[in-house]
């Protein structure tokens, strides 16, 4: 009798320990999964192509990750509140064109003016989603078209070159700290500020609450509509920052040029960084590694000498596998 009791106690204790360990392991993986995956992939590429690091591979990956990271952070804010922003890459292009046109005449004020404008573009998205209750997918699909058209009209459908004062922003691309270009450093700074905002401020906590359960948040006096406007404004603002990095890099902007294909990489980077598509889960610091991973894949396939026609295939497979590994799963087996 006494022995059964004793073994019983031991086995229960063990079961508890296992359960606790499992929970801790899940939490740990959620926290560092995207980092670990990026490091492993980077190491594999570096080992297979010995010239990769010596040949400036780090700088190349970081500089191509910078605009993706900025767009992805904005996207993650919108995903976190339970919506989606399909128009943010179009805002990046429009912002870049506006900056190319105004940098000459306005000088140092131009980036500020452009950032205010793109933030307002985002706010308009947010106001319509929050108050007219148009589903965000449909609305931003529409505004995507509108911003693209605006970019065409404003630029006259050609490439707009910065005619003066390019050095006001060019240092972002040319300057670097420890092989990392300033554009990427900018993205990291934005991510850290975003992380502090989400974790330690009332609006940040409110946004996540809305993403997890909007009704529950409303009945807890969370101002869901206002927060949606804020999330879309942030998305617009960060898309504008991405536009500035494009001007810094290229010195010009065009409706079909650099930045026009940022939408899907931006979404992919947010999700690879552990952001939940159905809302309520986001860690801006992991989005950094999401963006790096998404930027690394095409560069790595080229470096590894893949046939160009198979590069998209590899890209697709890698994204699926990485998302499967990093996705924060809910206990129920349903995924939107």
């Amino acid at each position: 009798m006494s022995t059964t009791v004793a073994t019983g106690a031991v086995s229960t204790e063990k079961a508890t320990k296992d359960g606790l360990l499992q929970r801790r392991a899940t939490k740990l993986w959620q926290a560092v999964g995207p980092l670990v995956i990026f490091v492993i992939m980077f190491a594999v590429v570096a080992i297979l192509t010995p010239t990769f690091i010596g040949g400036g591979g780090v700088t190349i990956v970081a500089s191509s990750a910078a605009p993706i990271l900025l767009v992805a952070l904005g996207q993650a804010f919108v995903l976190n509140i339970g919506s989606i922003d399909l128009s943010n890459a179009a805002i990046t292009v429009l912002g870049a064109i506006l900056l190319a046109m105004t940098l000459g005449p306005l000088g140092a004020v131009a980036p500020l003016v452009v950032l205010i404008m793109v933030t307002l573009f985002g706010a308009v998205n947010g106001l319509i989603v929050a108050f007219a209750q148009v589903p965000s997918f449909a609305l931003t699909l529409g505004t995507l078209g509108i911003f693209q058209a605006a970019a065409l009209v404003v630029s006259g459908a050609t490439t707009v070159y910065v005619d003066a004062n390019l050095d006001l922003v060019a240092w972002l691309y040319t300057g670097a700290i420890a092989m990392l270009p300033m554009t990427f450093i900018l993205g990291v700074v934005v991510a850290v500020v975003a992380w502090l905002f989400l974790r330690f401020t009332r609006p940040g906590q409110g946004m996540t609450a809305v993403g997890k359960n909007e009704s529950g948040a409303i009945f807890s006096a969370v101002r869901n509509r206002g927060l949606k406007v804020v999330a879309y404004s942030l998305s617009g603002f960060m898309a504008g920052l991405a536009g500035i990095t494009i001007i810094a890099q290229a010195g010009s902007a065009s409706p079909m040029g650099l930045g026009s294909d940022l939408l899907l990489p931006g979404i992919a980077a947010a999700i690879v960084g552990g952001t939940s598509i159905s809302g309520g889960v986001m860690n801006p610091l992991n989005v950094i590694f999401g963006a790096l991973t998404v930027a690394l894949v095409p560069i790595a396939t080229t470096a590894l000498g893949f046939d160009p026609s198979t590069q998209n295939l590899v890209y697709g497979v890698v994204i699926i596998v990485v998302v499967a590994l990093t996705l924060t799963r809910s206990r129920s087996a349903t995924v939107k």
Binding site: G19, P203, A217, F219
Partner: protein
Amino acid sequence: MTKETAQATAPTLRLTDIRKSFGPVHALKSISLEINRGEVIGLIGENGAGKSTLLKILTGIYQPDAGKIEVNGKSVKFRGPRDSSAAGIGVVHQEQSLFTNLSVAENIAISSGTGHRTGTRFGFYNWGQLNRSAAETLNIIGSKLNPKTRVGDLSFVDRQMVEIARAIRVDAGKDGSPLVILDEPTSLLERGETEVLEREIRKLKAFGSVIFVSHRLDEIIRNCDRILVMRNGELVADRVTSTVTEDELFKLMVGHASHASKKSRTSIDSSATPVLEVSRLSLKGKYSDISIAAHAGRITAIVGTSGSGREELSRAIFGAEKFDSGSIALNGSKVRGWRIPKAVSKGVGYVPSERKVEGMVGGYSAAENIVLTHPGKAAVGPIVLPWKRNKIAQEWFTTLDVRPNDIALELDRFSGGNQQKVVMAKWLNDPNLRVLVLDHPLRGLDPGAAETVNEQIKKACDKGAAVILLADTLEEALEMGDEILVMRDGAVTGHYDMNVDNPSTLDLLERMV
């Protein structure tokens, strides 16, 4: 007893040393029990005592960490609901779970395995056999329903028969007796169809065993042969019904005797301004011309059927729904632009009846939920201070005895009763709480949790809040209310001051319907 085959004498169900943990939580600590053929077993326990976990193990949804399950003398392992249903264990769920667009026979067949007798083979229906086997099953429980009828066309009671037929299935009972679990058939109880329930149990008893799960101790005592009491994941008592009383059962479940004291009535100081004054409030098609004066420290219970407009009225007071005309005043001053954030900032709280949807953010930790509505104490301006938040949450966990005592656990991982404690804490955390609107605050709560919630309601009154209560039952309204308002079709049809009047439930009912 003459010794026959092992199978005939073996109990319908025998559990030996069943254990189950979720993370750090021991949901079940060594459960052993036996249920014999023809027995009706009552299973009671507080929310979080482990009843649901046990039922989920019996129905194959969870797999136990350790222990043995034997059905009719044979050791079994359930890998999923299909296995347990094949072993003859069926469940009638809390809410009716039938497919209303399918026929009776299809509904019965859908949870049974494929095979010749059930009328399905390789996923194809053999309609003749399907209908015959459904009729056979219905016959066992004494129902003459036509298996071809669409379930959507059936009455409530007939649907309940289909639920049971589905639970016992056709091939169960051939080589042993089936076990049917009635998991809080609240749909029946709420409709007052207790005689239907009793009839069901009598029929099931004739050919199988029953586990009846309920929070209503009187129902349990009336219907069961034996009562099992669970507490903290353990079986704490196994009693023959004739040897126990309701008070004893309560004590066994909760661990202490009921100390619910009769509420002392609070009288109105007629000179004081009411905390909440609703004047001539109307919403087209829902309610019209409603006036309420709610005073500090008093509970105003509003009773009425579901079409009476009391839900809409209570939501209007919280700013969650609009009203067409009339006014709401707090401490004598009329409010304007009445929306939830404004109402909350003025000290109005609301506990909705749909707890999981509206009452809480399930994916957030309990601590984050507690400070969500009134973050002020845990923040400096817009900056949240996590250590302050955790301190506040820990204080509430201790006061309300929330289990498990883990403020960082996501709220949807707690049991219903403990969730409701956290939802209450969310509002009680407001130092300036003036009006607390409670929509069915005790729905689905076990007696222990209900007692805690009731204590907190009284405490809110003592601190000077006015409470608007939409109670589950008339008895609850009569017990808790200082004032009772009866509503019918959007109008007030009765008004009692419980200091003066002494209405009976019948008086209230007369004015409700």
